[in-house]
Symmetry: C2
Subunit: 380 residues, 2 copies
């Protein structure tokens, strides 16, 4: 029999526990919810969503999304400030095309999401890392780099950051916004985890500042519904929206995902999306406590902060340990992690690892951490 053709981006070999993988599991991707929404959307006598769509995205989809976000974010979101994307990666790529040129400088957090760094590399941007601490971006470090490099934009994951799990504080957000005006750079806020909160409410989404031209919030259905939909949004000032909708890509192809938007509009309007987010939170919340207790029990030499939302624990190993080496050892016992250097734009952070509590269920997480313990007690 020929091997099956690839469908998934990541296919784990049998028995492998990938504690680093930042994907939702198949078991939490709500097929029935989407099937039923598709049936409703496609049974109406309206096939407009099969035509080239409005560049900004289907107006009724944006209206439904605005209402959903208004409730979830706790402030009024206007459909006029929303632009439909095929996900945050697509949004970042488009913003790079329209607002940068090869050789331009941008700033990112250190650590940052390693695959966003690859998008910036494809656009041949010079990346200047900004130090972070428990409260997120260190503003003094940012200010110093702004003065020196005059970046075109700052890419930040301000809430439950990937990989650090940290959230930028209110005070620092206010300073960041001031600086964005003073130094005239864009803030690209990747807020993919904004609605996944397990203890308390985070600061307001940067979408709350869409009256300021420099502030761009990027959101996605990948972590609150399903990544395969390739659907997301940008919330920003009318002038930025105008640049997006008049780009060649949009002018030529029309709206970025009219068909899927029409179906997901039904998921939102029925209340199913809100219910899905609630369920995800109930599922993920106990895992945070679980990982915390497992790490204390089995890996007492590591340090970390307990995340209040999102997907990740950012775990600091003893200073002399290299997480890439740990990763190699772990692979022998069929465990994987993500090593810190992946998230560094200067090949640093070698004694950190990212663990995700979303993809595997409780028993596998425990088994994975026990196996990891064996690797750490070995040659290190």
């Amino acid at each position: 029999m020929p091997p099956p053709l690839p469908i998934l981006q990541t296919q784990l070999a049998p028995g492998v526990i990938d504690l680093g993988l930042g994907n939702p599991p198949l078991s939490l991707l709500p097929l029935e919810m989407i099937r039923s929404a598709a049936q409703r959307a496609l049974s109406q006598n309206d096939n407009s969503f099969l035509q080239y769509g409005a560049e900004q995205g289907d107006g009724y989809f944006r209206l439904a999304l605005a209402e959903f976000l208004s409730k979830g974010y706790g402030f009024q979101v206007a459909p006029e400030n929303l632009f439909t994307t095929t996900g945050i990666s697509n949004g970042l790529d488009l913003l790079c095309t329209l607002f940068t040129e090869a050789g331009d400088t941008i700033c990112v957090e250190e650590p940052s999401y390693f695959l966003a760094l690859k998008i910036f590399a494809d656009h041949r941007l010079r990346v200047v890392p900004i130090e972070t601490d428990e409260e997120g971006l260190i503003i003094e470090s940012l200010e110093e780099k702004l003065t020196r490099y005059r970046p075109r934009f700052l890419y930040t994951i301000p809430v439950h950051q990937n990989p650090s799990g940290r959230t930028l504080t209110e005070t620092r957000r206010a300073r960041l916004i001031e600086l964005s005006r003073q130094f005239d750079f864009l803030v690209l806020a990747d807020e993919v985890y904004q609605l996944l909160n397990y203890s308390g409410e985070p600061p307001k989404s940067f979408g709350a500042y869409s009256y300021i031209e420099n502030i761009i919030s990027l959101g996605s259905f990948s972590k609150i519904l399903a990544p395969g939909l390739r659907l997301g949004w940008i919330q920003t000032h009318a002038n930025i929206i105008k640049r997006l909708v008049t780009s060649g890509l949009l002018d030529s192809g029309g709206g970025l995902n009219p068909f899927t938007s029409a179906i997901i509009r039904e998921v939102i309007e029925s209340g199913d999306l809100e219910r899905n987010v609630d369920e995800l939170i109930e599922t993920y919340r106990p895992r945070v406590a679980l990982i915390d207790s497992l790490l204390r029990e089995h890996l007492p030499a590591v340090t970390y902060s307990v995340p209040r939302g999102g997907y990740f624990f950012w775990v600091r190993l003893p200073e002399e340990m290299d997480a890439a080496e740990l990763r190699n050892k772990a692979k022998v016992v069929k465990v994987d992690i993500r090593h810190g250097a992946l998230f560094s734009s200067q090949n640093g952070l070698k004694n950190y690892m990212r663990l995700c509590f979303v993809f595997h269920e409780e028993k596998e997480i425990e088994e994975g951490i026990v196996r990891l313990k064996g690797c750490m007690e070995g040659n290190f």
Copy 2:
């Protein structure tokens, strides 16, 4: 009552006949076909297409597409040479990001598809136009420009070109491929109309040359099924595919449209796509003869070649006439066209207009041309 929210990219005012618009009409976008495919795809106990998808595109979708193209193109298409996109505009945009930098030179046909030119402008590429005649690109003109400018790529619409309706001959294709190797540039062949043939078969798709690293064929479901799906493909050499699938965008977001691919795979496998293409051809074919006879009868001063496929008549007005002025006059009587200068990268071709025979039905086309006659008999 508030005005309806925008869903469509182009919404004609009541009574307007837009003879220039290159969109399929809503009446030919097969809702029932897609509804039934969605029902089949979403009723199986497999939700893989909701997960981050394989970067190259769902393997089974590519297999179905390869079989469909093999039959339609008349040569063997391998799924390994196919990469799933969200349409040709998306493919062009991604290729520009990965293979060019701001300031690079590229070549395009004169005339060419004006919205592709906008995509190239967003990437800040220098566009060098290549003259064309009834047989497509003039190879001597291309060769001279290649020597002078060493472009990164040539963008061509080699079959039933937009706007000219012309098809690049076999002999010239062979020379173009030789030149692409000699001068080391990529050929980006936008073959959106390759399967819409109303009289005879065109030369083979450039996909037939995907064993050559310089040759990239771009295809789309927009004109053979529905634009709102945002689904297309690139057929090319393994090395180009490798660069695409290892890009930051793909590495981060996974395959570009897994959800829609899973549904459209059903449309292909059921034979519905092939039936749909056959129906479109039967619908469009008589309109070519109709426009030909209407132009002879009502606009005897113009010249043109009758297209053998695609969407467009490229109509030459008397030398002193400016189609942009004609367009302004026509708007008064609620008719629209596309004026030649839109398709020129050097603001030329002023006495040409593009007419499309796809969007409006026979009666409206006739009414539109009669109104246009009135405008031409006026002040010109």
